[in-house]
Amino acid sequence: MHELALSRSIRDTALAHADGRSVLCVEVTVGALRQVVPRSLEFYFEVLSRGTACEGARLQLRLAPARLRCECGQEWELREPAFRCPLCAGAAVTVLSGEELTVDSIEVEEETCTAAR
């Protein structure tokens, strides 16, 4: 249920960058190695956005697969939590992706300037 705290942080990050403009969409990357439930994030985000410039904004989640590389050169996508190299059984393994949890960008509504030139 820490998705509540994460959603609050996503909302606050979006609001800080929106600078008063209305937010239409928030793009977030969630790595497969994070124990984050996407549907919970969406639910809390919707609730927490009410009454703010994020109200009604779409939370666009991009899921980043877990990719690992062993020092033996083997690279693979992790589908179950087995972090030893499937080729050499080594433990000197680097996580290439899957640990991300970032707000990548937001889409905002700009007031078109109608002032006289």
């Binding site: 249920m1 820490h2 509540l4 705290a5 994460l6 942080s9 996503i10 606050d12 990050t13 979006a14 960058h17 929106a18 239409l24 977030v28 190695l33 994070r34 124990q35 179950e80 939590p81 087995a82 972090f83 030893r84 433990a91 393994v93 949890l101 970032t102 707000v103 990548d104 960008s105 937001i106 889409e107 905002v108 509504e109 700009e110 007031e111 078109t112």
Partner: protein, 220 residues
């Protein structure tokens, strides 16, 4: 009206991590090393601390920051050992957070005499998921996994088991009464966090607890 895209590229936990670094700077200034101790509810964090603090850990001056959703039962148990204990409740009224975050720890710092400590053990809220995501300013992370929880837990909660550098396997006095396969548990642990250090302990009988005490002394 038109739409425009604003690049953000900010870690969701950025605000938490900034406060965690401030906590860490305060701990460093006071010369205090900090352990973040995590586990599922009922794995035996408090019992292990009681056992290890009862016997003392040499000259090391230890304090405990006790995180609970509600109440101060654990803090009262530890206070009985004449150790300075500070309680944080994550419950602001009804329904508390399931983990400690850096800001909760920061709000408690004023109540802790850091200058009188060498080591602060932060006993996190019992939970195998959420605490692993939130740094609080600690130097080291350890967890307790008890044999009554089953040998599959590393596979089910890989983030927690990967976040820690020490896994205390507790309640080994019960092994004879359980179907728990220690061999399978350790194999699962090795799959999830290859080469991670573990210790077999029983808070009840005291078996293996001296190893944990030495680890704490080394950490201080």
């Amino acid at each position: 009206m038109h739409r425009s895209k604003v690049r953000v590229a900010t870690d969701v936990l950025d605000a938490n991590d900034t406060i965690a670094r401030a906590n860490r700077a305060d701990f460093d200034r006071a010369g205090v090393r900090v352990i973040n101790l995590m586990s599922a509810p009922g794995a035996g964090k408090t019992a292990l601390l009681e056992r290890v603090l009862m016997d003392g850990i040499g000259e090391v001056r230890v304090g405990v920051l006790e995180g609970d959703v509600q109440g101060s039962l654990d803090a009262e148990r530890l206070s009985a050992l004449h150790v300075p204990v500070t309680q944080i409740n994550t419950d602001p009224g009804f329904g508390g957070e399931c983990h400690l975050d850096a800001n909760m720890v920061r709000s408690a710092l004023g109540a802790i005499a850091l200058d009188e400590l060498d080591l602060l053990v932060i006993e996190n809220v019992g939970n195998l998921v959420c605490p692993a995501e939130f740094r609080v300013g600690e130097d080291r992370r350890a967890m307790v996994s008890s044999v009554t929880e089953g040998e599959d837990k590393p596979l089910k909660y890989p983030l927690m088991f990967r976040a820690c550098e020490l896994v205390l396997v507790n309640k080994i006095d019960l092994l004879a009464h359980l179907d728990f396969s220690l061999e399978r548990f350790l194999a699962n642990l090795d799959q999830v966090n290859p080469g991670v250090r573990h210790m077999l302990v029983s808070a009840r009988t005291g078996e293996g607890v001296d190893g944990f005490a030495r680890w704490l002394v080394d950490a201080a």
